[in-house]
Subunit: 221 residues, 2 copies
């Protein structure tokens, strides 16, 4: 029996994008189900498949749901293990890849959100913190082409969705990521050249328009 | 060369405890370095070994640090794979164990903290949320002896440290976890009978005294 793979996601989500990158890198055939409105109107299938968090993304493999994007990437790496491994085989190197994925998960989303959702001192602190986070990541990247070394790996998949949000962060926060983190931007451009990434990474203008919508929904001037 | 394993931790930390349980279950010989004051006075070794988060716990294996307790447990499971596996081998079951560990990580600490650090409406909401979280976990446990089924596994290791904090949550929050989650309490008692757990799980009174100290440090009446 052929595998039935469904991905429930929402196009601007940097979390949902990760799973597209992972499936594309592995060459897995899947059905993409883009949710319409993940804030006010969640689909019955989403509520059924992720009853705990009630959030996208959900990967459904032969009827069984896997939730949380980082766990989905590990799952995809283990199930389709014959092609393009994401995690190294050495336990120490694996632990370090998981560490950086966890660092991105804990730090980047909330801080990035503040660039368009806050003002004044809170915004200034967020901009400073965001640059620090990105410089830390840039330092971990070092002179390697990818976080995974010569190959596009686990940390690359976890981080690159945020790259499509950087222009919006910069524009709303009125600051420059590029001038402080040029190496990281070069890495992002390189990732964009991959078919897997180009497939799901949205245009900057589209993300910008979505943030304008979000500000309206949450009543942020 | 024999392995040199050092664990830098702090006795009341439910995160640090996890790594003790994992090392003990695997029968790994290690040196325990209890930090004295992880709030105001971090040791130079801690800052050197965890420069990113500057937090306990840190597992140092042959001079190389592994940070973040859940990643440490995965690392220990992979390096000492010959005894007592924590994660199942089946990718789907693994993803589900990782999901519940992540659920505990995201939900329990912050909500538990509110039972002794907040008042009024915020406290009432936290108590309600905490019971909901624990009931969700109890439902996942079902009729199994452990979250890992017949064996003490990954999710058990991640959760059981919190069990030593439940009496403090109950006392400060003035509510009963036991009356609503008796099955989960039975699970906790069962875990306590394991040598690995008994080794690191502190007495209730000691945790209670530590919370009193914390309230003083943070100026919470």
């Amino acid at each position: 029996m052929a595998d039935e793979v469904i991905l429930m996601s929402f196009w601007p989500s940097m979390f949902g994008m990760r799973t597209v990158f992972a499936l594309e890198e592995k060459g897995v055939k899947y059905e993409y189900r883009g949710e319409e409105d993940v804030i006010n109107n969640k689909s019955p299938l989403l509520l059924e498949m992720n009853p705990i968090h009630k959030k996208i993304s959900v990967l459904i493999h032969n009827g069984k749901p896997v939730c949380e994007s980082i766990i989905q990437i590990q799952y995809i790496d283990e199930v389709w293990s014959d092609k393009n491994p994401f995690l190294p085989t050495d336990p120490y190197q694996r632990s370090q890849a998981l560490f950086w994925a966890d660092f991105i998960e804990k730090k980047l989303f909330l801080c990035g959100r503040k660039t368009w959702a806050t003002k004044g001192e809170e915004l200034e602190a967020a901009k400073k913190e965001l640059i620090e986070i990105l410089k830390t990541l840039q330092s971990e990247l070092g002179d390697k082409p990818y976080f995974g070394g010569d190959t596009f790996g686990f940390v690359d998949i976890v981080l690159v969705g945020f790259y499509s949000w950087f222009p919006a962060y910069q524009k709303f926060g009125n600051f420059s990521i590029e001038s402080e983190c040029s190496k990281l931007m070069t890495w992002g451009k390189k990732c964009m050249q991959r078919d897997s990434v180009a497939k799901a990474l949205p245009d900057y203008d589209k993300v910008f328009g979505y943030v304008l919508q979000l500000k309206k929904v949450y009543g942020i001037e």
